[in-house]
């Protein structure tokens, strides 16, 4: 019961007045940002990170704030999915399928409350999972040498390419671009300047915050400009606000299954909430859709994706904390946040900085309780915030982004570079490049390059060390599988489609 002792210490950290206040603020802000179409957890965490840093919050407090925002976003995304039929963030896309039809039938209150409970159970199961499995994984990872670490990053990059939907090459290219951006600046091994083009401002490299804000706030603003729909009409939340016992019973096992599935998917590096909610929804549909009610307002179709996306958000903390390899774009930003504090996440974190790890885990429990309490009675307030027009929201986001970036170096160069990166980010996004791989590549570059160099220094340049240990070999095989399997499956599906024409689209 060593874990309970650590968790107890974690609660002592998380229950400090400052940290509680930050969790409360983070939960509220997260829900609002998650709810606003276009803004998701990665934007929310990106916008608040520089502020947290400029305020000189201690690292555990900054992490607690960001984690609360992350969880809040996963809660908030469902509100606009249900009431507007517009997903508030990518993880909430599947929630529109049954959430909005339910709201149209007059069960908006029921859909909102059951999805709040589904979010709660997803997060709760994931947090319990973190408490149980993270220390084990951290212990195991202590035996990793540089070669294993290098192959682990290769595996993380491969899962990105394999999992992120229909554009594997663009996901991989994005990741390589992120890796390459991170090599700008002074090389820590030899002290030579790489790719700085004799610009003094680039000698320190591209600041993480500048890239994050450029990619996730500035480019988002440009994307939003194309969706200037004036005042969307939200469906009314009249009628019964709370689900009844029968509805809870109906969805209980759905939530349980989806949460466990979401958690497992979240733990995999690269695959995030979007994949988890899609898989959970299709699984429930296959299991339960006997009367063809899915897609027409089936309550299980609301519970499944919500439980899954919250659980996957929780699960993605595990690889970040234990291996230093983030499980999602948002945890990649948090990992970058930790490195700003000169803290290297990884297995040693559990021994060297237990207050950070366990404080974070305890605050996940607390944030989850705050969120479920906040999200059921305060739903009226949130729907009113949803009516704030872009013409007020967008300039505010711009101002806060600039404040945050200016706060690090107090210079004009970073602001200009941020806008440049924002414009590039916008162009990439318009071309269907997923942006999360770029940031993942950026935060993984140092880990990848240094471990490659360290491994090859051991053998004086002989690359066979990368293929020696059982762990490395397994990771190589898994990397190859996640890259090849989707291609093979698609190839097979295409051949089958040719052999027997699809009855729906002849």
């Amino acid at each position: 019961m060593e874990i309970m002792g650590f968790l107890g210490q974690g609660f002592l950290v998380a229950l400090k007045p400052l940290n509680l206040l930050l969790a409360l603020f983070g939960c509220f802000t997260g829900t609002v940002l998650g709810m606003l179409p276009g803004l998701g957890p990665i934007n929310g965490v990106a916008i608040l990170l520089p502020i947290a840093f400029a305020l000189q919050l201690p690292p555990e407090s900054a992490l607690i704030l960001l984690a609360a925002v992350y969880m809040g976003c996963e809660y908030g995304g469902r509100i606009s999915s249900i009431l507007l039929n517009v997903p508030g963030d990518a993880g909430a896309i599947m929630t529109t399928l049954d959430g909005n039809p339910m709201a149209k039938k007059g069960f908006a209150g029921v859909a909102l409350s059951i999805s709040a409970i589904a979010s709660f159970s997803g997060s709760l199961i994931a947090t319990i999972g973190i408490t149980l499995f993270a220390p084990l994984l951290a212990n195991w990872a202590l035996s990793f040498g540089p070669a294993e670490y290098f192959v682990l990053v290769v595996f993380a990059i491969s899962t990105l390419g394999g999992m992120l939907g229909g554009k594997p090459v663009k996901a991989l290219l994005g990741c390589f671009i992120g890796l390459a951006l991170a090599t700008v600046g002074i090389d820590s091994g030899t002290g030579v300047y790489r790719l700085t083009f004799d610009n003094v401002h680039l000698s320190d490299g591209i600041q993480f915050i500048v890239l994050v804000i450029g990619l996730f706030a500035i480019s988002e603003i440009l994307i939003m400009l194309e969706h200037t729909h004036a005042g969307q009409v939200a469906l009314k939340t009249s009628g019964r606000m709370l689900f009844n016992a029968k509805e809870f019973g109906q969805t209980f096992f759905t939530m349980l299954r989806s949460a466990i599935m979401g958690f497992g998917i979240g733990v995999l590096p690269g695959a995030g909430a979007t994949v988890a909610s899609a898989i959970a929804y299709t699984t429930e549909k296959r299991l339960n859709d006997k009367d063809g009610t899915f897609g027409k307002g089936d309550i299980r179709g609301v519970a499944a994706p919500e439980a899954a996306n919250n659980a996957s958000a929780g699960g993605s903390f595990i690889p970040m904390l234990t291996l230093g390899v983030p499980g999602s774009g948002t945890t990649a930003v948090m990992l970058g946040a930790l490195t700003l504090y000169n803290i290297t996440p990884g297995p040693l974190l559990f021994q060297q900085k237990p207050e950070i790890v366990w404080g974070l885990i305890a605050s996940l429990f607390i944030a989850n309780i705050i969120l479920v309490i906040m999200n059921i009675p305060l739903i009226g307030l949130f729907t009113r915030i949803m009516a704030i027009p872009y013409s007020i929201m967008v300039p505010l986001i711009a101002a806060v982004s600039f404040v945050g970036v200016y706060g690090i170096h107090s210079g004009t160069f970073d602001l200009v570079l941020m806008v440049v990166l924002g414009v590039i980010g916008y162009i990439l996004r318009k071309m269907d490049f997923p942006t999360a791989p770029i940031i993942l590549g950026f935060v993984l570059a140092e880990l990848m390059e240094q471990n490659l160099r360290r491994a090859l220094a051991i053998t004086n340049g002989d690359i066979s060390i990368l293929f020696e240990s059982p762990i490395s070999i397994t990771l190589w095989i898994l990397s190859a599988l996640v890259l090849i399997l989707p291609v093979a499956l698609r190839f097979r599906a295409r051949r089958q489609a040719k052999a027997s024409p699809d009855p729906l689209n002849p």
Binding site: I51, A54, L55, K167, V169, K170, L172, L173, F176, I177, L179, A180, T183, D187, G189, T190, G191, V192, R194, L195, I218, I221, L222, M224, L225, E226, T228, A230, P389, Y390, S391, I392, V394, P395, L396, A398, A399, F402, V403, Y406, G407, S410, T412, L415, V416, M418, V419, V423, I427, K430, M431, D432, M448, E449, L452, R453, L456, A457, N460, G461
Partner: protein, 143 residues
């Protein structure tokens, strides 16, 4: 088409990285790999992806129409202006100006933009600089 243009541009970037890495002068290295290898490897991998995009580009990319692009360019210009004038004009004034134009671009009225702009500039300065101690420039005019 967009994919092809991007692939060509990025191939040039890859070539630039590769050339830069070749020209890098390393004083003395204790390790077999050195600082050149990793960026060069990345340039190669990116080039492979670009060649794939050249051969099999996506055809379903949609850019905004002419008026959308015009609005986008105005917004980009405003953001660059805000970045450059942030220190000179100071946070309150630069922010107020930025908010007025951006708010207009997003369909707000002049009056609403002006009110939001002045409030954001002044209250934002007091909130961040005075209350939270995040240093912001006040600008030359008010000194």
């Amino acid at each position: 088409m967009s994919d092809r243009i991007f692939a060509v541009v990025w191939l040039a970037v890859c070539a630039l990285i590769a050339v830069q890495m070749q020209q890098l002068e390393i004083p003395f290295s204790y390790e077999p790999v050195g600082p050149k290898a990793f960026p060069s490897l990345l340039a190669g991998l990116m080039a492979l992806c670009c060649i794939y995009l050249l051969v099999k580009p996506d055809t379903d990319i949609q850019w905004p129409d002419a008026s959308g692009i015009r609005k986008g360019l105005v917004l980009i210009a405003v953001l660059f202006g805000y970045a450059i004038l942030f220190e000179q004009l100071g946070f309150p004034l630069a922010t107020a100006l930025m908010v007025v134009v951006v708010s207009r671009l997003f369909g707000g009225s002049w009056l609403n933009g002006l009110i939001t702009g002045v409030l954001t500039g002044v209250l934002g300065y007091l909130f961040f600089d005075r209350l939270l101690q995040v240093t912001l420039p006040i600008g030359q005019l008010w000194r």
